[in-house]
Symmetry: C2
Subunit: 351 residues, 2 copies
DNA sequence: TTTGGCACTCGATATAAAGGAGTGCTAACA
DNA sequence: TGTTAGCACTCCTTTATATCGAGTGCCAAA
């Protein structure tokens, strides 16, 4: 039997969706199960609680809301939140003042590393949650320059400068002593060969040429390449992220079990899993939202992640994220993350 | 009237002190107020609970123990703990195996930074509390070498190497373009003048010579000195510390109020206050113990810090600390911190 | 389709009673 | 004089019980 109510493709009546939206908005504000009476008022449609109750039943059958116990109101389920986020959300525009604040705060931070730190702190400060920024992956950045400095016998300081202005250095223990001249020559050769290449390419080319040099017994070149390889390799696992405002998360009653918090904080300290998670969204463009339970990591239960990639010269170089309770003000957080990503990208370009 | 009981200079009978010791040891184990019956058993002196009660009264009058309420046992006060730590503690010797573990774990970590990270992780791992290591202060380390590399127009990469193998780099925006030769000459001059000097001295000498150079209109030298000054200054506030295992502290019921924990974790994130605190003990030698309430920082209420300086070539270069609940096993933690400090110092020397 | 009514559930809150650990004090004992 | 047993008392903890109220589900009527 065809019903008269307007059914969207996911099988939920339009009015029911509206109630779901109002319910979730209320739940986000209060953190309390929402009862039919409250919802009737909030919806502003002059309907009686009883009517609402009927709709709630439908929503519960669809798995979009649930009640913690018989005589409590309803709280949204993960699927409910998902639907809310995907199709019900009305994102606020950020006020001009806020945009300005972000812009100025990012404008006055020094070098690249500092800028990223500022960005994560900014995110956490504005949202009162935890802010995360992944640092640009070395693979995507390009080789600019390498230099070797003699330190003491058999020790050489290698300095690698990349296109984005990052500097990595590493002390090499060499088999024999090198003169300053030799080192300069080696650096010259390497700079000449690799300048401008992506680090990933540099890595493979170094290996190729190293083999070639060995075959032709070109000692000098082989040694130069060996050293270069060591530096490039060592600077590779630089993949990392900056997290700020973790302690803000302690304020949310939703996450307040120490059990839960500890797991979360351990993940922050470890970082690996967080990075891995964010990497999944690396190729999406624009803001993505991600509900903890969907990840399978139980440390993220009760949390959501709002994330966006940031770009330099059209290339996505890193991710930016805010992590907080699933019950967060998405309408406010989403534009913040979005704008910050754009401004950060622009700021990184100017250096 | 002279009493027969042996009174030590602090006005506490020897036997009473013994009971205090037993009480605190018990309290450290259980975290529960200790009653007279329990204490009678633990003391192993075949005395009745009633006798113990009399002694407890005395200890309470002296402010060494307190009862949370009428019908609970006694818990040590801060002063009680202080006395325990200062004169009652019997420190265990570390088992040879444990020493070996520390030694090997520190032996296989790479460069200096890595070594310090390992040390803090080691401390937290072995004690199940938070481990802290302050990184050597730049002032105490000596200038070894400076180099300048041209990056692009008006940008120069400056690299500063110190005696302890640390490398600091900074990108300078210069007024005009420099040739490679000019930069090399500047570096040569600086290396020649300052090599081996303590950073603190370098800082002041740079200023002196800068003035001299300006007076004599020696442009080249003035510019070199200006750049050097910028690098030295920038690398100065490198004072920092590494903290590991913070989340371990969430397991202790003593600190489990979120209020309390948040303040503590904020302090960890900020680091400044922690550093300031540890600096107070910088000149003490050997292990120092420090009860949170004594500091005035209320974030440390309920905590104690066990700290020891570590030395390279007779010079104290940094501090090492474990932070945990005041109710911690000092007998075990003290030798761990002590030994780790020594091994860390030795490990740093060999590089 | 909406609404009012009604019985019912169940958490939250309050109150009371029982149990028990531990104290302080007193008086007796070695 | 130090030590001990005895005893009344305190106060936390646990358990049971009752009450309140928010909210539900369902039914019958509008």
């Amino acid at each position: 039997m065809a019903t008269k109510k307007v059914i969207s493709e996911n099988g939920v009546g339009e009015r029911a969706q509206y109630f779901l939206k109002v319910l979730i908005e209320r739940y986000i504000r209060d953190g309390q199960p929402v009862g039919s009476r409250t919802l009737a008022k909030d919806a502003g449609m002059d309907l009686s609680p009883a009517t609402i109750r009927n709709v709630m039943c439908d929503l519960e059958d669809l798995g979009l809301v649930a009640s913690p116990h018989t005589s409590a109101g309803r709280i949204p389920t993960v699927t409910g939140f998902r639907m809310f986020i995907d199709s019900l959300l009305t994102v606020q525009r950020l006020q001009a003042g806020e945009i300005e604040r972000i812009r100025t705060e990012l404008a006055y931070s020094g070098d690249a590393g500092n800028l990223l730190t500022s960005a994560s702190q900014l995110l956490s400060g504005v949202t009162h949650m935890a802010g995360i920024v992944t640092v640009p992956r070395r693979e995507r950045t390009a080789f600019r320059q390498i230099e070797f400095l003699p330190l003491s016998e058999n020790r050489v300081l290698a300095i690698l400068v990349t296109n984005d202005g990052e500097v990595a250095n590493r002390i090499l223990n060499t088999h024999r002593d090198f003169t300053r001249l030799e080192l300069d020559q080696a650096a010259n050769f390497l700079n000449h060969s690799f300048s401008g290449l992506e680090m990933e390419k540099v890595r493979s080319r170094v290996l190729e040429e190293l083999n070639a040099a060995r075959e032709s017994f070109d000692q000098t070149m082989a040694q130069a390449l060996e050293m270069a390889g060591e530096v490039v390799d060592a600077s590779a696992p630089h993949e990392d992220c900056l997290i700020a405002g973790q302690t803000n998360l302690m304020e949310f009653e939703d996450l307040a079990s120490l059990q839960q918090l500890r797991k979360l904080f351990d993940a922050f300290a470890e970082k690996r899993e967080i990075l891995h998670l964010l990497d999944q969204f690396h190729n999406a463009d624009g803001v993505q939202i991600f509900i903890g339970e969907e990840s399978g990591f139980q440390m993220l239960n009760g949390c959501s992640i709002v994330t966006a990639p940031y770009q330099v010269d059209e290339d996505v170089v890193g991710m930016l994220a805010v992590i907080g309770p699933t019950r967060m003000e998405y309408e406010r957080v989403i534009p913040i993350v979005d704008v910050t990503a754009k401004i950060l990208g622009a700021a990184l370009k100017n250096r």
